[in-house]
Symmetry: C2
Subunit: 164 residues, 2 copies
């Protein structure tokens, strides 16, 4: 079977709503602080760590170049996972899918813009961290705790994300 061809979309809060939250300074701030010198966009993510606790880690990931083949997706059944560009590559390719009885279904690909992070909701199928335009460090906020919080699924056919 030939690979599924995926054309990436720009990452927007609306487009991504079924998978998670886009973390960005969007629209008007909720609060102006620091004597007018800072806008606070408050509480942008549905963080969810179940019976665990939040952990803040850094992922140092190698660049991918489009076209990029995706043959594995994963999900975290016990908590949400947020990715925030910290250094190096400012943007990432984000592959997500719906779920049909435990099987990833309806793959989509998004490309973030500089200044955007994402928070994947608990249980959302997604590809691994894939910086574009260079290697990149990303702050990751996810669940720390006991139990198996990783489920993987090998795609057959695989998908190929082509340049937009």
């Amino acid at each position: 079977m030939s690979a599924l061809r995926l054309v990436p979309e720009s990452l927007t809060a609306d487009g991504f709503a079924g998978y998670g939250d886009v973390i960005e300074a969007r629209g008007r701030p909720d609060l102006i602080i620091n004597a007018g010198r800072c806008g606070r966009y408050h509480d942008l993510a549905r963080l969810d760590f179940g019976d665990g606790r939040p952990g803040l880690s850094v992922f140092d990931a190698q660049e991918v170049v489009l076209p990029h083949r995706v043959d594995l997706v994963e999900r975290h059944p016990m908590g949400s996972q947020a990715f925030l560009p910290l250094g190096g590559a400012a943007v990432m390719l984000i592959v997500v899918a719906g779920d049909a009885g435990g099987v990833p279904s309806g793959l989509r690909a998004f490309v973030s813009a500089p200044g955007q992070g994402v928070n994947l909701q608990r249980g959302i199928w997604h590809g691994v961290l894939t910086p574009l335009g260079g290697d990149g460090q990303f702050a990751v906020i996810d669940r720390v705790g006991a139990g198996d919080n990783l489920e993987e699924y090998r795609l057959d056919p695989s998908a190929v994300v082509v340049p937009p």
Copy 2:
């Protein structure tokens, strides 16, 4: 009284240990994931939200230029607060102080490098978010919950952070 002159130090984990955590890919990763293409630096921050919950917000802050006068510091008695550069300015000036019976004592200033974030421990006196080299958006992880989690202190004399 003339202002206290502060020369900023480079931000390092050791230098900052008394105030909080430096969030960065430092040394060897704790775990290699994603088929060898990503290093995970695991659980780098002492996150602490007391009786509240973690919130992920974005601060959009105006640049400061050195020399920069600091006449106000604040602390959060109910939880930790992390700042991660998300877009725009990659670095920030971080002013912190010890505490002597409710009064900030022993001010120090740090300048972060690109790819570094910080997590301030609960109750640490600090200046407000001050990007250097341009306006900047920063992801902020702090406590969401009831109660007054902000205490401010007006410095007299004030401090002036000079170029390093």
